[in-house]
Symmetry: C2
């Protein structure tokens, strides 16, 4: 099992990817990791760490794709970047998966272009974690496909189903379709047709309204990339907004230090499920490979979790199951 | 100035609509209110209240449209319902506006059907309040138009602009287009074209991402009815979800009663802007009249606020300004 880690992606490279990789190989004794990025900076980072050197190797890739670079442009022009080099190795079968906390757009473009689509898949999608009060849910698509036809949305449901079951460990994931009402005749023509197609899945629970997401009325939320992207970013913004609102109230009530500390610690703990920096990465589903992307601010622990999830994707043969499921 | 109030709509009728009407006429000495609904139950409710009887009248409408009734069906078959009777009076010019906490779908269908569209408006929309940390925003559309073309979304921006300025009192409302990225070339073809059209408004601030809604990067959020509806309901569900998450932490930490009271009161205050039962109603913009709908659970205060906003719509000649703005 050999997973490659982008050591030139994210807000804290090479430190966090390298540290995450080291923890991952210590946790999984069968795992080999290839660190891809500017060789010298990786060596510099590894110098201070204690790690099994027979299971961590380096692949030099001197070019760095910035977080805000235009994806298509970057992938085309920076052929010696960690993303292009890593996915090229994956396409040739040298590695079993590639994980990155780098430029999501570039990673998505390069994954689709270099790895290609799985047999039968119309469009790959980004499946992203979405916290609910009943545990972690999965939202698919989070922004890869903005205009999605019913057949494409149906395939998102199939792919999300398999990922939620085999990687997230939800025994029978409840698949829901985001819509404006519960009844099957609600929504646009696209949504009505998608509802009809999804009824072929025994664990489809029907339409899910906006109010039923956080309450966890489904495990997999199927939607187009516009809705998924807006909801994902909206959800991420809740803790900050609440902190601002609470700070106003705290000032007004003139609370003492103990009271403020209590509130702050409670909220921090309550919001832990929303901490995207800890969750690890999310997969591009539907590409012919195992490619994952994490939050730019991913901690070493998040990188480690992303690596171990990539291992699970390989071990559980997710892509073979996806092909069978949409056939 | 004569505003009609649906006294047979919402979860607490006739009590809340009648009480709200009484407070409204006391606050505004130039206001007359017609209570529309089953006459006897309205009289029964009024009996216990002190009110200026020369400015509150009753129009009998014995049929009641339930909150879950199919809108089109209800409007067609229940011609003696408060909604159909009230909007009919409005169409004939007997009253200046109609407000209801009843079945939103029925009210929307009846408003479009009985009042018709304003000159030049392609599709009416529901403009709904959306709280942000910088104050109350307006989201348009919240579910009236699921598939909206660029020209329609552009008109939503124009209508929201006027309502936010003249009724909500935001001097120069910042108009934003909900999208997956800030750059103007982001999003679907529809969103790109809408962006281009909205650039004609001097106070258009460009694309707004999901993370920029609660932080208040715009005052008016333009979107289609699917996105608006899902976001609105999602937003409404945040306080409950957070309460569940916090309750778990509170149990785990074994807090004492004082601490729990402190937390509860702080959160309640912080979430006040999210209390849809207090905010009052929202308008159907683009119909040839002044028609507003409130939350089913509207308190008397919410009904009163809705009535006074309808008065503002009339006084500020919102519809004339909308016609001019899209011409």
């Amino acid at each position: 099992m050999k997973i490659a880690v982008d050591a030139a992606g994210g807000d804290y490279f090479p430190e966090n990817p390298v540290k995450g990789a080291v923890v991952a190989v210590k946790e999984n004794k069968d795992l080999n990791v290839v660190l891809i990025g500017p060789e010298e900076s990786i060596l510099e980072e590894l110098k201070n760490l204690d790690y099994p050197s027979d299971r961590i190797s380096i692949q030099d890739a001197p070019q760095v794709i910035g977080m805000d670079e235009s994806p298509a442009q970057a992938v085309k022009s920076k052929t010696a970047s960690s993303i292009v080099v890593g996915l090229g190795m994956h396409q040739k079968g040298v590695i079993d998966g590639f994980v990155s906390a780098g430029n999501t757009g570039a990673l998505m473009a390069a994954s689709a272009f270099i790895l290609g689509r799985l047999n039968g898949i119309i469009r790959p999608a980004i499946a992203t974690f979405f916290p609910t009060i009943k545990g972690m849910g999965l939202m698919i698509d989070a922004g890869a496909n903005l205009d999605a036809k019913p057949e494409i949305l149906f395939q998102f449901g199939c792919m999300g189903n398999i990922y939620a079951r085999d990687v997230m460990g939800i025994k029978t994931p409840r698949i829901g379709l985001l819509n404006v009402g519960e009844e099957k005749e609600k929504g646009t023509e696209t949504l009505k047709k998608t509802h009809h197609l999804l009824e072929a899945l025994p664990n489809f629970v029907g339409n899910i309204e906006g109010r039923d997401i956080l309450s966890g009325q489904a495990d997999v939320f199927v939607c187009d990339g516009v809705i998924g992207n807006i909801l994902l970013k909206f959800g991420e913004s809740i803790p900050d907004a609440l902190n601002v609102l609470l700070a106003g109230v705290i000032r007004k009530k003139q609370l003492n230090t103990d009271q403020i500390t209590l509130i702050t610690s409670l909220l921090q703990e309550a919001f832990e499920p929303f901490d995207y920096q800890k969750v690890g990465g999310v997969p591009f589903l539907g590409v012919n490979g195992n490619s994952m992307v994490g939050h730019g601010g991913s901690s070493p622990e998040a990188i480690k979790n992303m690596i171990l999830n990539a291992v699970k994707m390989v071990e559980k043969d997710i892509n073979k199951k996806i092909i069978a499921s949409v056939a």
